[in-house]
Amino acid sequence: MIKDEKISEEQLNAFIDGELESEEINGVFDEAEQSAELDGRLCKQRKLKELVKHAYRDVPEPRRRTPVGRMPASMLGMAAVASLLLFLGAAAGMFFTQSLEQRSLQTGSESAATGQPVITSENYILHVSSGDPEQMQRALKMAKALLSSASSNTPRKVEVVANEKGLDLLRSDITQFTEEINYLASNRVVFYACSKSIQRLEEKGVVVRLVPEAIPGYTALDRVVLRMQDGWEYIKI
């Protein structure tokens, strides 16, 4: 068995990983000139590194559901009706927006009296991942406070995204907050149920039923990143 007495395995690795100083690099090159065996070892180490890189150049995409793909067939019809209503609602909304804002502002003065922290006039995405009802309640209170403290000139947008155990907030058969969700949704707070968390539960055989206000279209991360790209503020509850 041939043993190379000059260059250790660690040194070879450091050489191919660019971790050596130039003096040591020269030393390895000099040795490789003298030894075909060392040269062979270097080639193999390089080949191995390239093989590993090559193996992960294109990695398989995770299985993700698209928003439409996740809708049951029965919901597609509802979606069409909803689109029509949305169109009609858009026209009607022009008349009702003002009153909604006024309502929101009225709530705002109440909330200000409760001593909520001062909040700047921006859009917010709140993220709930805890199954603790207190945390859920905190998220809903914060959503309400954010709406309340918005300036009347620039209505604030607020979204709540729930994932992992926090998804319970939006599960109709589990949540304790149906009324609060309904109230906030009627004040234009949008609720998103993480598609990945739904998928995980379904894979375990759990039938996931969501409150009607919940939109199951995105993973929590996708929604958060999307909104951050839009300049929204992210708050983890």
Partner: protein
């Protein structure tokens, strides 16, 4: 006041770019560590959400990439601790069988390498992939995994030795027994 606001906006933008630029890289690394696309995706989601939550802790954006990979490594540790189990090469084989690309010869090579990587102990697998896929320096890997540089080097040696034996059918390890210790690395 205006300066402070501009700074906040600029930091926020930089963070968004950081997330956008690294999501794919983190996923690739998570896949290399777990061999499971779904689990890898979950880990990346957890990683980025944790990063978003703790973004104010990040003072030096130059170190941000290493910080993200460190969170990923911690997420994996948490996952393994919670599950008390981990995907082995056997699990990967099952996943491979449903991969359509397996029909092609080149893909077979890719799968062979991935299986060999999956068979490495997770500690070795993490070091090898961080160095080979992301070209992280030994010092960065040491920070990401919270281990000494010497441990990075020894794990890398063992990991690569195992891969070489499986993939390149090398001669005996004796040939590669270190004769002298390396004095320093960058």
């Amino acid at each position: 006041m205006a300066y402070k606001k501009l700074l906040i906006i600029s930091q926020r933008r930089a963070f968004r770019r950081l997330v956008a630029n690294n999501r794919e890289r983190l996923y690739r690394m998570a896949f290399a560590w777990t061999g499971d696309p779904q689990l890898a995706d979950d880990l990346v989601q957890q990683t980025l959400l944790k990063a978003l939550k703790n973004r104010k802790q990040l003072r030096d954006f130059a170190a941000a990439e290493g910080w993200l990979f460190r969170i990923l490594a911690n997420c994996l540790t948490d996952y393994r601790r919670a599950k008390r189990e981990f995907l082995s090469g056997d699990n990967l084989e099952l996943i491979d069988k449903v991969t359509p690309e397996r029909r092609f010869r080149e893909e077979e090579l890719v799968q062979k390498v991935r299986q060999a990587v999956q068979r490495l102990p997770i500690n070795h697998r993490q070091v090898v992939t961080l160095v080979d896929l992301e070209e992280f320096s030994y010092a960065s890997v040491a920070q990401i995994l919270d281990i000494p540089v010497g441990t990075v080097m020894s794990r890398l040696c063992r990991g690569r030795r195992a891969l070489r034996q499986e993939l390149l059918q090398t001669r005996s390890d004796e040939m590669l027994t270190p004769a002298i210790n390396i004095k320093r690395v960058k």
